[in-house]
């Protein structure tokens, strides 16, 4: 097994989880109702905790300590898709992102539950159970607001259109796709995307938004290779502000 392919896969998943977890945590104290502050914080804790476990796997494969990896890299060294780094915006924006991302995440972990790389398969089975609740949360709200009134519908529609190209960027192919697939580590991004379209559209079809025409959107790529929007570096600067004061200190 070639570690490069595996590491690339682990890095992009861990970075996605860390950055979206960080964004979710920004809702604490700012949610439209208290229950949503609490829900977004729960999801943030799950995601950041999951990213830490994935960085531990990477550490076991010879990469640096999780704290160093998470708090000391620059934006160009991050492999997250651009979807997760965008600022939270209004609640509809965060909700649509959460909906689109968590469907992909759940399906990714479901596929990875059968990975030939057993340490990852084990984590994936565990995370699937956690992300299931993120999915229920997203679906409930999408169905509720997607059938509520003119304003909620207009907002969701607008955010969906804005985020669709970024969401397709989740599935930016890795340079190691064929290797990952042939070694049975992962089903590959293309296969994942097909399952995802089916999954999100099944929910959207139950709302006044209707199923989305994904083939009409062009994916925004680059995140997986370290190409990011202007929003990631400031996020990382903020995240590491205290840590970098003295990376050797015990906080």
């Amino acid at each position: 097994m070639d570690n490069l392919a595996l590491k690339e896969l682990l890095y992009k998943m861990a970075d996605d989880q860390l950055i979206l977890g960080h964004r979710n945590s920004e809702w604490t104290g700012m949610g439209p109702i208290l229950e949503e502050d609490i829900a977004f914080s729960s999801m943030a804790q799950d995601k950041v905790g999951q990213s830490q476990q994935l960085y531990i796997l990477l550490n076991q494969l010879g990469e640096a300590e999780p704290d160093t990896v998470a708090f000391m890299r620059n934006a160009e060294q991050f492999h997250n898709c651009q979807l997760v780094e965008l600022p939270n915006g209004e609640y509809d924006f965060s909700l649509i992102r959460h909906f689109l991302f968590d469907h992909a995440e759940w399906l990714r972990f479901e596929a990875l539950s059968n990975s030939s790389y057993e340490p990852l398969a084990q984590l994936a089975r565990k995370y699937k159970g956690e992300i299931k609740y993120h999915l229920i949360h997203a679906n409930t709200w999408i169905k509720q607001l997607g059938n509520a009134n003119e304003e909620t519908l207009a907002r969701l529609k607008q955010s969906l259109h804005e985020l669709a190209p970024y969401a397709l960027g989740i599935f930016e192919p890795s340079p190691y796709e064929t290797q990952l697939i042939s070694e049975g580590i992962f089903i590959g991004e293309e296969a994942l995307k097909a399952r995802w379209i089916e999954s999100v559209n099944a929910i959207l079809a139950q709302t006044a938004l209707g199923a989305f025409n994904w083939s009409a959107s062009n994916a925004i790529l680059g995140g997986r290779q370290g190409k990011h929007s202007k929003h990631l570096q400031p996020l990382l600067d903020e995240m590491s502000e205290v840590f970098k004061m003295d990376p050797t200190a015990d906080w």
Binding site: T28, M30, P32, E36, S41, A44, V48, Y91, N149, V242
Partner: protein
């Protein structure tokens, strides 16, 4: 989080003379026997009013208290702290949720309480009107402000109103984790690098005054609250809470080699009471009346959150406005 500062405003006394004397006597006898009062039980209007005010202010303190610490979630150094602080602040929001629903059992809707918070009609714990400049400030809050809150909340959990007591019991169980987390953070700062120690000492210097204010003005200067004591609404005096806090935490602070910025602070071996320099009570009054370093900012943040979320709440409240697909 919560402090005695809320009891500063003059109590609106009177009103008991209009109550049915037989029912009132029965009510007071129940409380004297240690029974809990439940939402549908008879209660004097004054009891209801004071409890709403108190629980509501406690709830506001929890959500406003989430702000000064919340700004450090995105900057917490390392996974361990980041995860713990997220969970801690989430708990505080959860406390607000529990408390608003306890207050709602007395007849005031959450929306109305939040309106009163935003209009300044209803107060919250004064200490959250001070800024958190550094990570060390957030460590101070997690350890010592939560410690103060526990002193207060434990006392109140022995009160007479069932839903409030039960909420407080759950809250106190979570607060004890906050205390452990905060203490752990402060230990690492106070025994860390010279820079960390300096940060921690500076935070202590900034927060000691507000911490002494936290329990409210001295008993001798407080408005009389006999009836609230008798009804087990107010369970401990401001000075009792402050003394208990000093007794439990001053030795722990000194143990870490930190200096408390009050040269007169010492325990009188004869009385067993702590002696200290009175904090600036004029400043306390100014801040509680709106003129503190962060009052405007805290309320502005809360207001923005409320305004930005209005469309979501509206959609939840009005199922009859369900969207129907236009025919054309």
């Amino acid at each position: 989080m919560y402090g005695g500062g809320n009891t500063f405003e003059a109590q609106q006394m009177g009103g008991v003379e209009n109550e049915d004397p037989i029912k009132l006597a029965e009510f007071e006898a129940r409380i004297a026997r240690g029974e809990k009062i439940e939402p549908n039980d008879w209660m004097p209007a004054l009891y209801r009013k004071q409890l709403i005010r108190m629980i509501e202010q406690h709830a506001h303190s929890e959500i406003i208290g989430a702000l000064p610490e919340g700004t450090w979630i995105t900057r917490a150094p390392g996974f361990k702290r980041k995860l713990a602080l997220m969970a801690k602040v989430q708990d505080e929001v959860g406390h607000a949720q529990l408390l608003y629903s306890a207050a709602e059992t007395l007849g005031k809707p959450r929306e109305k309480m939040i309106d009163d918070l935003l209009s300044g009609k209803s107060k919250y714990s004064n200490i959250f009107n001070y800024p958190t400049f550094t990570w060390a400030d957030s460590c101070f809050i997690s350890w010592l402000v939560d410690a103060g809150a526990i002193v207060n909340q434990l006392a109140n959990s022995k009160g007479s109103y069932g839903p409030y007591c039960r909420a407080l019991e759950r809250i106190c169980a979570e607060e004890s984790f906050h205390l452990k987390y905060g203490h752990h953070c402060v230990i690492h700062m106070a025994t860390g690098t010279p820079r960390q120690r300096k940060m921690m000492q500076e935070a202590l210097n900034r927060w000691w005054g507000p911490m002494m204010h936290f329990f409210g003005p001295p008993d001798k200067a407080s408005v009389h609250t006999e009836i609230l004591v008798k009804w087990k609404v107010k369970m401990a005096t401001n000075d009792e809470c402050r003394q208990q806090f000093l007794d439990m935490y001053v030795p722990k602070i000194w143990e870490l080699g930190l200096n408390i910025p009050d040269p007169n602070l010492k325990k009188n071996p004869e009385t067993g009471e702590w002696e200290y320099t009175e904090p600036d009570w004029e400043e306390f009054k100014r801040v509680i009346n709106g003129d503190g370093p962060c009052n405007a900012e805290r309320l502005a943040v809360r207001r923005v959150a409320e305004e930005r979320g209005a469309w979501v709440r509206k959609a939840l409240l009005k199922p009859e406005a369900a969207y129907t697909t236009p025919l054309a």
